[in-house]
Symmetry: C2
Subunit: 395 residues, 2 copies
């Protein structure tokens, strides 16, 4: 019955999601407190109190038919204006509401941008390790995703290999910083150099190559690390943002696509992206939560909690003998597997009720991803298990 | 910059949406009370009070990380169970939570089902007049939409022409009853006969032809008219439902796809549809509103208000000399244009600040759609304008 294109997707259903379901199964058997599920990026930090207050106030102050009704497919104009203002204030930019399209999270934003840009056979480049769903997103529009092999010393992108990989069919590049799964923040030097390469190569291939910046983790950065605002380094940049992590609202599916005026043919690109938002079936981002964003544009979830988690988990794992780059952002540790086959290592972890995701789920075998967007107590409780695992691996 | 496929969409941007923007523009000039906008299906009836109560209760009673967090891509299981129970009670069916996938409205539901089913070149049949966005939805997956010409006496589908149009490439059929734009409810005889034809033709072409029932207007039926529950008449039926109209929540983007066990390869179809929901970028339907549905599954917006609107508008238009089938459902009147070119008629209406949508926007020239999901007062205020328009048309 099902389409040919869906068959491989059904065969290789998301390993991360499978782990999520497995975590629920194990919790049902052993009790939630005895299962250490580090598999999913589902924030355990609650949404800021201001979210609840905003919802209550909106329901009391605004008309039901307005709050729950249709608006322009791009989203409420005052919501987009509030976001533009906030960005302009922080980054000394000059965005206006027309540059913004409210979307059903960043995943939907990425789909809309790819639908807007890609012709069948167009190539999109990204950097391993990366969120494997990018493959599905690109294939949705018959594009071809190519991943540049990782530099496992720093997990900054290998820009030499990148420059060589760009060809005439290259239409777009997807970056994700702070990065899932490594937690690495791409440096100013990286982004600046990336912009130069793209500018030069766009001239060379005779068309603009679009830099798509997938930014659900923008606000999750620690130790005062500098997170470059990408539109300032390359003119043909489109940002896909999500409030899933910054406001702990992943289930609400709320984010935006930002298409600056500097993007080539920006008016047409914006119009096409709004239409893509409509015809893909989203129609518009959920309305009540859009209204909430307007009132909470300066709010952040308690990001210090993640930093505290990172510090405990990172220092403990290193103490137990694991090897891992210290993440400066997001809420993931990308740990070198002490066993050659990291899937076997994941199985060993599972025996100790520790759920982690194999690096091959991010096109980077030999590593595992540990999501530390869990309670501090879960990390504390899990440490003896990690120590035992280290022992069994001879660390 | 933009993809070839997007170019015609940018060229022919939705006439209905353009009208919506035009209505806002005119309201800005003449005042909202002097513009009679009948162009969009944006319910003016507020959501039931129970929605506000449910949101407040959820925020007070349920955990933030649960209410706003990720859940299974198909949606919260208890929400799906509540919907299955409500359907089973009303329609004597035996659905279980696994038959349901919560979606970002019916538009997203249709996209997910088409993505699940269509191979490039597959044909989908629908019945004119119909919501032209179906074209975009089908083209998203490289399918071909064919529309059966309308029977303008009854606006029941022409099943003889339908049977002849089915061929080896026919994979699915989309119906929409109560219908946008005619307000007609497909009768038991129609649905029953449709099912027989599909059963016979499926055998003939050697594969199951899926009946996709797009049901945002299911609860909007008047005069006690019988609205057949389509899964009972044909085994390979998939329902795409939306709460946009029944709970007046169109901006919230909440609905479901229902895939009964009787559908061929139902387990695989359900799994593929859940994956399509994820990879299309929705990931899941908005979480808080899902939780609201669980508590409000028996609620309905004040549908009597639409019936009252229909009665006033229909009787007035007929009195002025317009010709129109009496709608039994939805909130639209499909009026015969008194001018040969119905677009010229729409322009004449606009001169009187009356906004209506040309029938050609539903593949049925010579008619206009009037949405009566507006205030009763707007209808009252607009009647002198309609009377003048009738006069200018020599009615």
């Amino acid at each position: 019955m099902i389409a040919e294109k869906m068959k491989p997707l059904v065969q290789n259903n998301s390993a991360i999601r499978a782990m999520f379901e497995e975590g629920r199964r194990l919790a049902g058997i052993y009790g939630a407190e005895n299962v250490y599920d580090f598999s999913l990026g589902n924030p355990n930090v609650p949404a800021p109190k201001a979210i609840k207050t905003a919802i209550m106030d909106i329901l009391n102050e605004e008309e039901s038919t307005f709050v729950h009704g249709y608006m322009s497919n791009a989203g409420y104009e005052d919501v987009r204006a509030a976001i533009a203002d906030e960005l302009n204030e922080r980054f000394q930019t000059a965005f206006h509401p027309e540059n913004l399209i409210m979307t059903v999270g960043a995943a939907s934003g990425l789909n809309i941008v790819l639908k807007t840009l890609l012709n069948p056979g167009d190539e999109v480049i990204t950097f391993a390790p990366y969120f494997l769903e990018y493959n599905s997103y690109v294939r949705n529009y018959d594009g071809i995703l190519t991943a540049i092999a990782p530099n496992t010393d720093t997990f900054q992108p290998d820009l030499k290999a990148f420059a060589q990989a760009i060809g005439e069919k290259t239409k777009a590049v997807i970056i994700n910083s702070p990065n899932n799964p490594t937690g690495v923040v791409y440096s100013r030097e990286t982004i600046s150099h990336l912009g130069e390469i793209l500018r030069e190569k766009s001239r060379e291939v005779g068309h603009a190559i679009v830099l798509i910046s997938d930014e659900p983790y923008r606000e999750l950065a620690y130790d005062g690390v500098f997170v470059p605002f990408v539109t300032k380094y390359y003119e043909n940049t489109i940002i896909c943002y999500s409030y899933s992590k910054s406001l702990s609202l992943p289930g609400e599916r709320i984010g935006y696509v930002l298409i600056p005026d500097e993007v080539e043919d920006s008016k047409e690109v914006i119009q096409a992206a709004v239409i893509a938002n409509r015809v893909s079936g989203s129609v518009n981002a959920p309305s009540l939560i859009q209204r909430v964003i307007r009132r909470c544009v300066h709010e952040r979830a308690n990001i210090e909690a993640y930093e505290k988690n990172r510090n405990l988990l990172y220092s403990s794992l290193v103490k137990f003998g694991f090897s891992c780059i210290k993440p400066e952002g997001a809420f993931y540790l990308f740990v070198k597997s002490p066993m050659a086959d990291e899937k076997a290592f994941c199985e060993l972890c599972k025996k100790h009720h520790v759920l982690v995701v194999p690096g091959s789920s991010f096109a980077c075998a030999g590593y595992v991803r540990i999501s530390y967007c869990v309670s501090y107590e879960q990390i504390e409780r899990s440490l003896p298990a990690f120590e035992k695992i280290a022992g069994e691996c001879g660390l």
